[in-house]
Amino acid sequence: MGHSERDLNENPVALVDKQTIVQELLSVLSAESVKYETEDLTPFECDGLSAYPQIPMIAVLPENEEQVCKVMKICHKYKVPIVFRGAGTGLSGGAIPYEQGVLLVLSKLTRITHIDSVGRYAVVEPGVRNAAISEATKMHKLYYAPDPSSQIACSIGGNVAENSGGVHCLKYGLTVNNILKVRFVTIEGDIIEIGSEGLDSPGYDLLALVTGSEGLLGVVTEVTLKLLPTPEKAQAIMASFDDVEKAGHAVSDIIAAGIVPAGLEMMDKKAINAVEQFIGAGYPMDAAAMLLCESDGSVEEVNSEIQKTTEVLNQAGATEITISTDEAHRLKLWAGRKSAFPAVGRVLPDYFCMDGTIPKKALPNVLKRIAEMEDQFQLQCANVFHAGDGNLHPLIMFDANEGDQLHRAELYGAAILELCVEVGGTITGEHGVGIEKINQMCVQFDNHEIQTFLNLKQAFDPEGRLNPGKAIPTLNRCAEFGHMHVHRGEERFPDIPRF
């Protein structure tokens, strides 16, 4: 947070002649796939983080891998910076364009190339929507597990770039745990296959490195995804609590009972009320907090787990328990959770969605301090929480056109992220760093650690032209940002000149 003054020009690049590049791009792409007039570029000025719009020099929409490679080669030849974009639903500004660069949009690569129902995998292009995969594999009784809240719109290339999670990742993992292989185009425009159709590959785990790399290392043109058998049954429990702390303890009690629910979500009063007024999911308006806990598996497994979970929730002091009666009811309960962000967006015109992860035991303390900060920054904050895996989404509500609210919201967000690091957590669990949290990277990592990231980046992109200014800060930025990373009691940054 802290980008009211835009600062993306961290990696100086040679100024290039726009017309020359447009001509080159037009020689390999159709006219409608190359956008360079301001009016055509405006739709691409931001992604899911709307506070920092920027128009790119050129946007291209290639139709296949071959065209992607050609675009990469042209940009490489002219040393043009490139930013990649999928569906543009990212919340950390990872796809915000670079003023002097090309925006490479993957939204036309939407083919599901192959579904192997026996081998249980699907091969898809990066522009395929997350939800479309499970829709296409439904007839084989298979599905793709990661389900970010934006799954109706977000595309799989972006999921790989951000290592997206979702409400089911406690049991089924993140994107990195559910993909087998990618076709990866390097900055030079060459294709490398990373991973395999088996479960592992020799050498270093480049698939793990590339997943979540936020478009800093290259671009993915094909993803082989693991498919899982669709559970026979899924059932959800909604439990109300009159106290946030009790709800937090209930989460630990469920885990202590040896249960790993398919989903375990928590919402506080502000989030419950916003959602209830938005879509009427049947949430308890009078509760201080609620848990949404899902079991899936065979009919027998689900029945026994639901019973066991209900007992735990009762013992933990739940004031009211509702068990979904059928599939429609279950989906309705989830619809509320999945619409929490837009619901909050209706309370005030703007919101920042934070994404810290904390140890579960720190939850009561963190929620208390977030509430105290409401007074400090004079802004409201609603909380939704992937409680099972400790991933907190405070939603800071503000009106950017109202005084210094944007600035206060940025400070509030930064304070929350720093709090997450302080209690032993991280600044981002699943949304990525992008530009939004780039300063807080300096809080979480010391300069040697950041240098390691920069070295890895150099192995793929020696001149720093892929998604410049995102995800990994320069050491100078950290020195200027001025936050001391205190690392095991030692002060770091001794060798960096201060400005």
Binding site: G198, L199, T426, E430, M441
Partner: protein, 352 residues
């Protein structure tokens, strides 16, 4: 704490000294996986003295331990709290350490259903080639800040840095586990593995050893019993079966020579390898002394995967083959983490 600092300082001076002498370091825990690799070169740094579980709260499902901690101690600690290492790591010797478990990346029978070491690594603290003490990832379940260096370390065999400490996600121990056997030929066994893996049952392992297909179910009593009825098969009391597959003490592994491992599409035909042991729902095939690495890789290429020499490699010969572009990228990763090539020279690749 002072002794910990002393051990770390000793590691640091060994690294600095090796760097000054342009020498190479070989990091070793219990030495139980020394059989795997191109060659073993360099001065030994032993992690055994840097031991102990540093953080473990069962309800967080996260355990942090130092590299030299005996793997069996970790498993005992978890057992006391009714939890497990979900990837069921092979020890391959009584001296196996936690650090070796992470650095080898070897996973056991539960891998196909739950995931590998790399799927459960959450964070790592390492000494790099400059002897800097670095922390990547975290002690929480989800973390996407920075590149995923801690997962990159899983399977790196000590060639990217010295792992001091790792944090991993753990899981509750299944209430019950039952194994059923099916008398099948290799082709039907492979088909059945793939069918079962696509069926919503609490499957936790499959293995075909040439005679029988073994299928393990893990979960709640009621769920496992229901699945057991659904799939049929014979139950026998062979509690040591999966241990023998995991630790390679099963009679199949009693041969001498070169053991190859194919990691390929689970539906790849088996006819050419009808004497293979098949694991992980069809995607892993073990082969003894039959053909060369390049012949196996040629087959693997057709089925989207790789052949590796798992044990019995001739000193200095490659243990894997990949496209030149991919190998070059692997080398760039190595150079970015260890520019002078101090750590584990030629452990994984013949060139570096």
């Amino acid at each position: 704490m002072s002794s910990d600092a002393a051990v770390i300082n000793e590691f640091k001076s060994q690294i600095t000294d090796a760097k000054q002498r342009s020498a190479c370091i070989r990091i070793r825990g219990g030495g139980s996986k020394d059989f795997h690799g191109v060659s073993l070169e360099g001065d030994l740094i032993e992690t055994k003295d840097f031991s102990g579980v540093t953080e473990y709260e069962p309800t967080e499902l996260v355990l942090t331990a130092r590299s030299g901690t005996p793997l069996k101690d970790i498993e005992r600690t978890l057992e006391e709290n009714n939890q497990i290492l979900p990837f069921e790591p092979p020890h391959m010797g009584s001296e196996a350490t936690f650090g070796g478990c992470i650095a080898s990346g070897f996973s056991g029978p539960r891998r196909a259903s739950q995931g590998a070491v790399r799927d459960f690594v959450l964070g790592a603290r390492i000494l790099n080639a400059d002897a800097d003490d670095l922390q990547f990832g975290g002690k929480v379940m989800k973390n996407v800040a920075g590149f995923d260096v801690s997962r990159l370390l899983a399977g790196s065999f000590g060639t990217l840095g010295l792992i001091l400490e790792s944090s991993i996600k753990v899981l509750p121990k299944p209430e019950v586990e039952r194994t059923v056997f099916f008398e099948l030929d290799h082709r039907s066994a492979l088909d059945k593995m793939n069918t079962l893996a696509g069926t919503p049952i609490p499957l936790s392992a499959t293995c075909f050893d040439g005679n029988r297909l073994a299928v393990r179910l893990s979960g709640s009593e009621i769920g496992v019993t229901a699945a057991r009825k659904k799939i049929g098969g014979e139950t026998t009391e062979e509690s040591s079966y999966w241990e023998s597959i995991k630790e390679q003490t099963h009679p199949f592994f009693e041969a001498e020579g070169c053991l190859y491992r194919l990691s390929i599409n689970p539906t790849a035909p088996i006819d050419q390898y009808d004497d293979a042991l098949i694991e992980w729902n069809g995607s892993t095939r073990w082969i003894w002394n039959n053909g060369t690495l390049s012949e196996h890789q040629e087959f693997a290429n057709q089925y989207g995967g790789y052949a590796t020499v798992f044990r019995g490699n001739r000193l200095g010969e490659p243990i894997n083959m990949m496209s030149p572009a991919l190998q070059k990228l692997q080398q760039k990763i190595k150079i970015s983490m260890d520019p002078d090539g101090i750590f584990g020279k030629k452990r994984l690749f013949t060139e570096f």
